[in-house]
Subunit: 195 residues, 2 copies
């Protein structure tokens, strides 16, 4: 199982945004939609061995976490709008305990620090100044942690560092989180092929 | 200069599609918008050393080619909708000779085979059964050629094979074209760092 966690610092936690203007109205749910596409989509099909946590800390009832389970997802289209409309649907549910929205899409009231605790690690933080992932063994159960368009705050980094954490780099340029997910998959795909 | 060419087999060549339903109305202009984001966007900024050719063969006045020049692009947002609206604007121009639409975005009436001839190569075709790109030297002026959600036809492959063509693979899984562009950039970024 490959696991990714993306923190959406301002991502709206109420279904109050417009699919016609995601960047302007949703706290950048479009970033999270692109992460979902990179996490799950192959050219013809869905990666079933992937779990993605989208942690949303924006208005109006933070935190909410959408968990997507590749093995249960029926359809996921590559365009941002249709993925965001799945999130819109999930955010209509208000329970704190995890409940199912559509097949493979779950939502709960857990936030970043508590989710880290509940998952336990090992966590891998992707940063330009980390060790090169190509030279580094990755535990099979690792959870790759990424931020959206905003950097992690000091407090969030502290929450991460309280756990089993490795900092890895994917290359010399600072990239968008969905691009990072694509690069992680490629490196792990190559390793699977070799074994 | 890094150059990419993406063929949109059914991509509309008239500004007749809806930004509210790109996958359903535009012949998959959404695929091309994602390719543009992968080709040009870094976490904070635009890759200036990139040129992208989006060749469109769909209705109603094929072919059209949109050329994007990273060094001249003023703004490019990461969301599909705003990129597609730039394409919508470019497709309002009808001249066969290349004309400028918005800064860094050009449009002309050239099609796939003629564009290959005009660029001349060397071309790199990305395919799962090619040699691994990681083990392969890439000429500095290479043009990476990709298809959209549809495979190249026999005729299109023939047009490619009439030129200086290398077939390379990025890994064992078949990916979306925007994901391939991200992987090519990463490999070239790493090589630039080494030199």
């Amino acid at each position: 199982m490959r696991r990714f966690l993306v923190l959406g610092h301002e991502a709206h936690t109420s279904p109050d945004f417009s699919l016609e203007d995601l960047p302007g109205t949703s706290g950048r749910i479009d970033v999270l939609a692109r992460c979902a596409a990179s996490a799950f989509l192959l050219s013809h099909g869905i990666r079933k061995d992937v779990e993605l946590y989208l942690v949303m800390h924006g208005p109006s009832r933070p935190p909410r976490t959408i968990r997507m389970a590749g093995g249960e997802l029926r359809h996921l289209n590559p365009d941002e709008r249709s993925t965001a409309s799945l999130f819109l649907k999930a955010l209509q549910l208000e329970s704190i305990a995890e409940s199912v929205s559509t097949p493979g899409i779950y939502v709960s009231g857990i936030g970043f620090a508590k989710l880290l605790e509940s998952l336990g690690g090992p966590f891998i933080l992707l940063k330009e100044d980390g060790e090169d992932m190509r030279d580094h063994r990755v535990p099979k159960d690792a959870i790759f942690v990424l931020s959206d368009h905003l950097d992690f705050s000091e407090e969030e980094e502290k929450a991460l560092m309280a756990h089993d954490l490795t900092v890895l780099s994917l290359g010399p340029r600072s990239l968008h989180s969905n691009q990072c997910i694509t690069l992680v998959h490629n490196e792990l795909d190559r390793r699977e092929m070799e074994t």
